[in-house]
């Protein structure tokens, strides 16, 4: 466990360094470190002011937003898998994606033929996500005897409703608007700024902390609702708390970076293969590994076809799937 924790943190450090160093303008880690220290009054920077701006105004906020997005999506995915006792659960299970998609589409098609995505898109995406999750909870979770499957089915129904509304809006809008909607839906860190980092930071810190602290409760819930209650757990309260935290954190991330798939489902599974099935271990390691994973994926996304960028969701799937299969194979060989 200690080795895996150290290896995960090392991966994060490597991801952070690569996220800052790699780009169209090659700047060494040593020079970036020198520039960072010079800002603290230690030594002199060897970077030109443009290079310093590239590092601290473009790459650094993008890297930090990637860390936050990866950490939140991974821990939310792991939490959903625990609370719904369903290995296929991901952070978009209760309608966050469909709600955010509808909100964003509403914002984008509002200005027909706009060349860029409106600045208030994240706000409407966040509102859409929260409306969708709240609706899912009201429909599926209001009964005292409601089960997790009721909640999941309500999520499916709400997602279908919001997606159909989004499709209708797209059908009524211009080709340029549709293109902008798809750019947003595919997810990207290209528009990252310190401003967007500061907006999502409190959500991620609070929500990810709640999820990580719920690890022991999720372990208890793995024996089923009745047994968990007989062991002294307030199952309904825990479920409400962790679903609210996961959904709120995911909504904040989705509003800032769009829909990045695969991280929330693949990262907790990779971590589970490495550290076992206890959520006390899965969730904190998922935070660190998810952060590293998304920054590495983004580094690939923005460099492999430079100057154009690959959709981040495509890269997370292309990297994540083989890594998952590899770990699964190694584990099987180890068990046989």
């Amino acid at each position: 466990m200690v080795i895996i924790a150290v290896a995960t943190v090392a991966t994060l450090v490597v991801a952070v360094i690569l996220g800052l160093v790699i780009g169209p303008t090659s700047i060494s880690a040593q020079r970036i470190l020198g520039d960072a220290l010079s800002h603290l009054g230690i030594g002199h920077s060897t970077l030109a002011s443009t290079q310093s701006s590239v590092v601290w105004q473009l790459r650094a906020p993008r890297m930090v937003l990637g860390l936050l997005a990866g950490a939140m999506l991974a821990v939310a995915g792991g939490t959903y898998q625990g609370v719904f006792r369903n290995p296929l659960a991901d952070p978009y299970l209760l309608g966050v994606a469909a709600g955010a998609g509808l909100g964003a589409t509403f914002a984008i098609v509002d200005i027909a033929n706009a060349a860029t995505i409106p600045t208030w898109t994240p706000l409407l995406a966040f509102a859409g996500a929260m409306v969708a999750v709240t609706l899912t909870w009201v429909i599926g979770g209001r009964s005292m005897r409601s089960t997790t499957s009721t909640l999941v089915l309500a999520g499916v129904a709400v997602s279908a409703l919001f997606t159909s509304a989004q499709t209708f809006l797209q059908q009524q809008s211009s080709a340029q608007s549709i293109a902008n909607v798809y750019i947003w839906l595919l997810g990207s860190l290209a528009n990252a700024s310190w401003h967007s980092v500061l907006i999502v930071l409190p959500y991620v810190v609070v929500c990810a902390t709640v999820c990580v602290l719920a690890g022991r409760a999720l372990d208890v819930m793995s024996v089923g609702d009745d047994e968990a209650r007989s062991l002294g757990l307030s199952v309904r309260s825990v479920r409400l708390l962790v679903v609210a935290a996961s959904s709120l954190g995911t909504a904040a991330i989705v509003s800032a970076v769009g829909l990045i798939g695969f991280v929330g489902i693949i990262v907790p599974h990779i971590v589970r293969l490495l550290v076992g099935t206890s959520y006390r271990r899965i969730l904190p390691i998922s935070v660190v590994f998810g952060a590293a994973f998304l920054v590495l994926a983004d580094t690939v996304a923005r460099t492999v076809m430079a100057p154009s960028e690959l959709p981040l969701g495509v890269v997370t799937a292309v990297i994540g799937a083989p890594v998952f299969v590899l770990i699964l194979s190694v584990r099987r060989m180890g068990n046989s």
Partner: protein, 259 residues
Amino acid sequence: MVRLEHVTLRAGATILVNDVSLDVAGGSWCTIIGPNGAGKTSLVAAVAGLRPLSRGAVSIDGQRLDELPERARARLVAYVPQHPEIPAGMTVEEYVALGRVAFHGVMRAPAARDREAVTGVLERLELHGFRHRDGSSLSGGERQRMVLARTLAQATKVVVLDEPITGLDVRHQMDILELLKKEVAECGLTVIATLHDLTLAGLFTDRLVLLHRGEVVLDGSAYDVIRSSELAACYGTTLRVVNVDGNDVVVPVRGDTRR
């Protein structure tokens, strides 16, 4: 003492348990018997405080279960369902330690006394050698012993078990029931269980309660209940009681099925 007062459970318009009142003395073993669909599982889940009652109350030592928060209730009564879920990958020690959650809560790690309690139960039930094994990989008998260990780690006065010997061979059935009997005799544990095996119910139990269509038909000593005409009538078949070396054995007889 466990007291059930006019306990009634409904599922929609269907009455699962109707106006059941029982007093179960501390340090005794009461078994609920009855045919499939009699309401045994619903009744024991209610005794464990896990089902909202349509009417009536369940209390342990004067404390009404429906008025207690989950953690307080979990310190009074432990529950084992008919098919306990064993999470894959969870070790025997981790699983047994779940029994201590009511003491340390989910925001704190187990304290030294919790770890000692788990170690003590593992040793008492001869599971110490298995403690690092994946609980889901154990055999049926070992698995049920592990579930019992978790229940005893909960250190409650009352344990409620729904069909604790389902799917076990005869030796493991005897093994589990002997363990429970020992806890009743030596530690003063109160056991409320359901059993389908009438012979074993008669052998191990102080008191049998015959439930049929949600109502108590008969309540008495094992000797009286297994010899009663009501027992065969409720099961809809002919039963004979044969004494073997001082043990009453309930035997179904072919060719005379009652309806």
